[in-house]
Amino acid sequence: MLFPAALGLGLPIGIGLAAIGSGIGIGFLGKGAMEAMGRQPEILPKLQVAMIIGFGFAEALTIYAFVTMFFLQGRIG
């Protein structure tokens, strides 16, 4: 298999896989935060900050894949 062809097939799949992982992670985070907020609404401001930071960490993984794609994109053609 040619290197560009392999790259062109692999990059989108890689991004998709990374997005699946991040999505699961963010979903769990949001679920936990929502449940905690429902149980204890007075904790909301503190929880929101922690939740957003967690989102940031989870989302970063997809962004790494995206950045990798961006750097390797030029070698496809």
Partner: protein, 456 residues
């Protein structure tokens, strides 16, 4: 602040200012580029009609009078039909048309900013107390001066040929690059040449319009720096305006800025603790507001988010990294810092794990700036690319003369993504500064919190 008289509200003033600017620019352009000037005026006329009809329709709707439907129909035919007719007319130039169409919006934006800064709705001419400061006229004057400079400068650079001469512009680029080789020009130009999709900002338009000017070429090659400067000066300007004469009972803008700063301080203080936030809030808050300004700049048409380049985000992340390490060493001492890096070995197992833990911790520290910069860059760049894709699709549909299909649905989707971009801008600025706070928190001694939390 007095209420504006009914006939002379902010829209009137903005429209008048934009007409003045458009006529001035058209007069400057007319001798050399007559079609550009005509297109500019046509765009301005269309936008003017749009505003006039919009005001009338809104008035009819709010007063619950009939006839709005007929007016809407007339507006559709006149404004959108006129726009389509203009676009299908072969001679029209797109960039001046868009510029003319955008001028009233720009003037309105500047006027509303002016109103928010508390300058009040004063007349354009009778305003002795207000010196230079972001009114429609001064904004238009800046644009006009830029255009005049661009028009005048081919005399410096050579014969005013409209055709692109790659050789001469290359030499100018080389000359302009010599004074400071330390700037990240290779990366910027690489972005440019490999055609990473980007909406044209005003620097690109200026450069296309006049490729021979060394100043414009230099600006065009260092777009990231230019837009970072613009954002920084905007940030400084707004803060200066807001806090110029701070009062105990704050005005509109002072109140808004104070609210933003205080809520940011509360969020970061909740993580860092009361004692440390006093010392470290300046850099955390500066990071947040600076990144926020840069991100938001990209939403304005003709501007660009400087954070959609890895150069700037990496610089910001490195600043954060150095700051965190500096405070780690300063608070823990050299020995304590090394102890922290080694994972605080206290028993035999800890010492035995030292060869493993030390590299892991060092790598973890080094991964922080990479992760910070890539996260910010990836998010902003991704949003920008998304919008570029949709705008490109719209442009392709227009080129295939499917204007009716292109403009309403595609433009609506693009506007939706722009709202999403606003959200992303805020959230990413927040995440960047909060992660910096968390990294700082890991480095600072926090014995006073530890036992309570472990008991709880």
């Amino acid at each position: 602040m007095q209420t504006p008289r009914p006939g002379r509200d902010i829209l009137d003033r903005a429209l008048r200012a934009s007409w003045l600017a458009a006529i001035f620019i058209a007069l400057v352009l007319a001798p050399s580029h007559p079609y550009d000037a005509l297109s500019l005026l046509a765009g301005q006329l269309i936008a003017f009609l749009h505003f006039m009809f919009l005001r009338k329709i809104v008035k009819l709707f709010t007063e619950k009078r009939g006839g709005a439907g007929a007016l809407i129909a007339i507006k559709l035919v006149l404004v959108y039909g006129g726009l389509m007719a203009l676009m299908s007319w072969g001679r029209v130039r797109y960039a001046p048309l868009c510029a003319g169409f955008a001028l009233p919006f720009l003037a309105l934006f500047l006027k509303s900013m002016m109103l928010a800064f508390g300058a009040g709705p004063a007349s354009l001419w009778r305003r002795p107390r207000q010196p230079v400061g972001g009114s429609g006229v001064s904004g238009a004057a800046v644009i006009a001066i830029l255009f005049v400079l661009a028009a005048a400068s081919p005399a410096l650079a050579g014969p005013p040929t409209v055709t692109d001469t790659p050789a001469s512009s290359k030499t100018h680029a080389g000359e302009a690059a010599i004074p400071d080789p330390s700037h990240p020009q290779p990366a910027a130009s690489a972005h440019h040449e490999e055609g990473a999709a980007e909406l044209p900002n005003w620097l690109v338009i200026l450069h296309d319009w006049n490729p021979d000017n060394p100043v414009i070429t230099w600006l065009d090659e260092n777009q990231v720096i230019v837009f970072a400067w613009i954002a920084g000066f905007l940030f400084l300007f707004i803060s200066w305006i807001a806090m110029r004469n701070a009062k105990m009972v704050p005005g509109v803008l002072q109140n808004a800025i104070e609210w933003m700063v205080e809520s940011m301080e509360n969020i970061a203080g909740g993580l860092l603790g009361e004692k440390h936030i006093q010392r470290h809030f300046p850099i955390i808050g500066a990071l947040f507001f600076y990144i926020l300004t840069i991100n938001m700049l990209g939403i304005i048409p003709g501007m660009k988010s400087a954070t959609s380049s890895l150069d700037l985000t990496l610089a910001l992340a490195l600043i954060t990294f150095l700051y965190v390490q500096f405070w780690g060493i300063r608070n823990l001492g050299i020995v304590g810092y090394l102890d922290h890096l080694a994972g605080s070995p206290r028993d035999a197992i800890g010492w035995a794990m030292l060869p493993v833990m030390l590299p892991v911790h060092v790598l973890g520290e080094l991964a922080k700036p990479v992760s910070l910069s890539c996260r910010l860059f990836g998010n902003i760049f991704g949003e920008d690319t998304l919008i570029v894709v949709f705008v490109g699709a719209t442009a392709m549909l227009i080129k295939a003369s499917l204007v009716a299909l292109a403009v309403p649905p595609m433009a609506g989707i693009t506007a939706l993504f722009m709202m999403l971009q606003t959200l992303t801008s805020i959230v990413q600025a927040l995440i960047f500064s909060l992660l910096a706070t968390v990294y700082l928190y890991m480095m600072l001694p926090h014995e006073e919190h530890g036992p309570e939390e472990s008991h709880a």
